[in-house]
């Protein structure tokens, strides 16, 4: 319990350090930016580029429209919640797909050698280029009464980034079952499927858990980028674009939308952490990551 309390305290301390660092640089840094060895890498510290942390926070409670109405905080939270649901769908889809791929690849050695390079290459395709394509294909899809919803394209792109670490992690995990246990299952005349369910999959769990962390982050990035590049309304990606356009009139707004994106990432990390605890509950302590 005290360990958990300490971790919470460390989180707050880390946040405060980031705020302090920001404000410290703003106080001493050059207002018009600066060069290091001829490169203009020092950011400008004026309020336009680096607003005070407290003005970002008060900015949260300004009305979102010039005409009044809802506060910025409300709009950002709603956007984050909208994107979160899409990211969750993408994450679950990506995890299931990644695990299925891993099972198939672990079953057929030839498939592993044939398919794995393509999986690696798939991750080098720029998401920005892929997003409009997926949206285009999805838009034409119609099965019976069911029409491809626009948000589904973003979910697919989230899944696209989430599946890869899960597939690679699960594949390694499925192969990690120890030789004596495999021989035991063999001596019990267990089928391939029973061996998978009873031995290989549980052996893979310590490899799957860290892969889920990467996959969760991937799903969030995929969805936010897809929202930006397909122009999907309602999510945090769209807000980031909108608010950065308004940066000249209100520089704090874009930072509030970044808070929203961070919140979204934290929520996803929280879900993965819960899955972690549930899966690793009975494992020896040193095996938990």
């Amino acid at each position: 319990m005290s360990g958990r309390l300490r971790r919470a305290a460390m989180f707050v301390v880390a946040m405060l350090l980031v705020v302090a660092g920001w404000e410290a640089y703003k106080a001493v840094g050059p207002a018009t930016g600066g060069d290091v060895l001829g490169f203009g890498i020092l950011p400008r510290t004026n309020d336009q580029v680096m607003p005070h942390v407290w003005s970002m926070i008060t900015g949260l409670f300004d009305p979102a429209q010039r005409t009044g109405g809802q506060t910025v905080a409300r709009v950002v939270l709603e956007g984050a919640w909208y994107s979160f649901r899409i990211a969750l769908v993408g994450f679950v889809g990506g995890v299931l797909f990644g695990m299925a791929i891993a099972v198939v690849l672990s079953r057929f050695k030839l498939a592993e050698r044939a398919v794995l390079p393509y999986l690696v290459i798939s991750q080098t395709v720029p998401l920005i280029a892929l997003a409009p394509l997926v949206a285009g294909w999805g838009g034409k899809l119609q099965i019976g009464d069911w029409v491809w919803p626009k948000w589904m394209s973003a979910a697919v792109l989230g899944a696209f980034l989430a599946f890869f670490p899960v597939a690679v992690g699960t594949l390694r995990g499925l192969k990690s079952a120890n030789a004596a246990s495999l021989e035991l299952m063999d001596s019990l005349a267990a089928s391939w499927w029973r061996t998978l369910v009873v031995l290989r999959f549980p052996s893979a769990v310590p490899y799957i858990v860290p892969a889920l962390k990467l996959g969760g982050a991937g799903a969030v990035v995929g969805v936010v980028v897809a929202e930006i590049s397909t122009g999907l309304k309602g999510g945090i990606g769209r807000l980031i674009i909108e608010y950065s356009r308004q940066a000249t009139s209100d520089p704090t707004k874009v930072f509030t939308s970044i808070f929203g994106a961070a919140l979204l990432g934290l929520a996803m990390a929280g879900i993965v952490a819960l899955v972690d605890v549930a899966l690793m509950r009975h494992r020896p302590k040193e095996a938990t990551s």
Binding site: S187, V205, H282
Partner: protein, 273 residues
């Protein structure tokens, strides 16, 4: 060791050979022309230097390997059939317990694969735990147990389905000497009570002599049986047996058989304990 019509031999091996990588330049003759018959209730140890094929022989009996030639009958059935019907249980040097399953659920594993229902499985597993004197540890996780206790769980698991034959590959190899002797005595009691036939692979001469009715001495390149030494230390062996002159006599006999091999093949990893 002749079989009668009523009870088939526990193991009957005829003309068994195993060549790894047959037909290639790196072919290894792991076993050549082995004949061996083991009667029901017998305790037989396989001993010999590394590479003599004792583990290979055990895995051929278990049908975890296919022979290059020859036949293996377990309980009068082909080895493959015996494996499918779980006619034997197996224990290895590494206990191979599933760390995510409690002790009792580890023991239930073979029964689960046999399709037993939960209540029956649990009842049998608890019975097996009492047999290996771990009745109080049913809900513990394997990593909470010592090495010796883990090995006992592995034996309970191997015997859970009451197989007539138990195959063991250096099951006590990773244990300290005191625990090891204790486990040997317990194994004998368990096997006597369940009238299980045992084939036991070991590196240790005293272990082989203490446990066995017969010690099969094997030699490498190519792997084969060079000598079979009958041991009769009686059914009620205890700690005094380890100090009896008869015990030492048999140890000497096995050691000399092995030394004959060593003189021919050069020194190899035989543990002299």
């Amino acid at each position: 060791m002749t079989s009668t019509a009523a009870t088939p031999d526990a193991v009957e091996i005829t003309g068994l050979s195993k060549i790894f990588n047959a037909g290639r330049t790196n072919a290894v003759e792991a076993l050549v022309d082995v004949d061996l018959t083991i009667a029901p209730g017998e305790f037989v140890s396989l001993i010999g230097p590394s590479g003599c094929g004792k583990s290979t022989l055990l895995r051929l009996i278990a049908n975890l390997l296919e022979p290059t030639s020859g036949t293996v009958l377990v309980n009068g059935k082909p080895a493959a059939t015996a494996r499918k019907e779980q006619d034997y249980g197996m224990a290895f040097q590494q206990s191979g317990l599933f760390e995510w399953r409690s002790v009792v659920r580890n023991i239930e594993l073979p029964l689960e694969l046999k399709g037993w229902d939960k209540a029956r499985r649990r009842a049998r597993a608890l019975e097996m735990l009492d047999l290996v004197k771990l009745g109080d540890f049913a809900s513990h996780m394997p990593w909470q147990l010592s090495g010796g206790m883990q090995q006992r769980v592995a034996i309970a698991r191997a015997l859970a389905a009451h197989p007539p034959l138990l195959l063991m590959d250096e099951p006590f190899g990773a244990l300290d000497e005191m625990t090891r002797e204790h486990m040997q005595a317990e194994l004998l009691q368990i096997c006597a009570r369940t009238s299980t036939t045992v084939v036991f692979v070991t590196h240790s001469i005293p272990e082989a002599v203490y446990l066995s009715n017969r010690v099969i001495v094997m030699s490498p390149r190519p792997g084969r049986i060079t000598e079979i030494i009958d041991v009769d230390l009686g059914t009620d062996r205890d700690e005094d047996t380890r100090e009896a002159s008869e015990f030492y006599g048999k140890i000497t006999a096995v050691r000399e058989a092995l030394r004959g091999i060593e003189l021919a093949a050069g020194p190899r990893g035989i543990e002299d304990r």
